[in-house]
Symmetry: C2
């Protein structure tokens, strides 16, 4: 069942990562005019995105959204982290956090598979903390500032295989597989 839908994303990094974790070739499609609603709440963003993608493509779809919640910031940046990256970059985020004592963060990934009737949502979370500077050159986005709990490296300092074995996206995809298997 896992390859009976299209993965709707314009981010080739996410396709590569999900394909590596699921160990299959995902069919991906970029949909122009797909809007993400304004909210740091990933669940709200993903439901709207799944409905919209299905309505445009008229076929079963998989959508993904992820985010990074800084504990000191009460929900921010959350799903809005991509706008922080585009404007202030990861360096800027760390600078904005300087005045706060709590450097804790939670990485969240959420997948939804929607066929027009049923929506399966799977979430994966990884607690961790924010590094004091940019570290590593692997991964993408905010991987270079997030240190998962129990590790000393940022995601960006881990090999793709190392990160994908423990990441928030891995946890979400594992749950999604279980959900989809239940539905068979």
């Amino acid at each position: 069942m896992l390859n009976q839908f299209k993965f709707v994303t314009g981010n080739p990094n996410k396709v590569r990562e999900a394909s590596e974790i699921l160990d299959l070739t995902l069919e991906s499609v970029q949909v122009d005019g797909l809007f993400e609603i304004q909210s740091p709440d990933i669940d709200a963003v993903i439901r709207h995105k799944a409905e919209q993608a299905h309505s445009i493509l008229q076929c079963p779809v998989m959508v993904e959204d992820s985010g990074l919640v800084f504990h000191a910031w009460n929900g921010l940046p959350g799903a809005l982290v991509k706008w922080f990256e585009e404007t202030v970059s990861c360096e800027g985020m760390l600078k904005m956090l300087e005045g706060f004592d709590d450097r804790g963060a939670t990485a969240i990934c959420c997948f939804a598979v929607y066929d027009g009737k049923n929506m399966k949502i799977a979430r994966g979370k990884v607690k961790g903390s924010l590094s004091s500077n940019i570290r590593g050159s692997n991964g993408f986005g905010w991987d270079v500032i997030f240190i998962p709990e129990g590790y000393k490296q940022t995601y960006g300092e881990m090999s793709p295989r190392g990160k994908n074995a423990i990441s928030h996206r891995k946890r979400a995809l594992d749950k999604l597989k279980q959900e989809l298997n239940k539905a068979l």
Copy 2:
């Protein structure tokens, strides 16, 4: 012509302020299920909002969006400022800015009137700076941290009449009036 459309907003503060500036009673309506797209770019947000509101209500609509750009943050929070208010509050925004030298900010307001064919967009901008602490109790949102250029008070320390005479919203509404008069 100014009262031949509905002002689509769920924010009574904005209705009151626009009514005061335009000196007329605006018919306002709150639309459930109206989503704002995810972007700090106010122009992108407002176009989508106008089209969506018209599509739901099937009548001429006026929509508004405003934001506050911190010069040190390259576009942030912009139209996303409401989420900053909801999560970290104005105090948090000032704390996030502590490590930056540039305390400049620009207040932006954007109105769009859309009848299904033509879209009139009017923008108003006010340059200023961010106070070092919360000041004043008038206004709403981030009024208590924004000091317009040429003044020593924050918006929140001004009387409603004082603020409305010089605000980004006043400038946008003045332009909107001109635009609508041209169209008559």
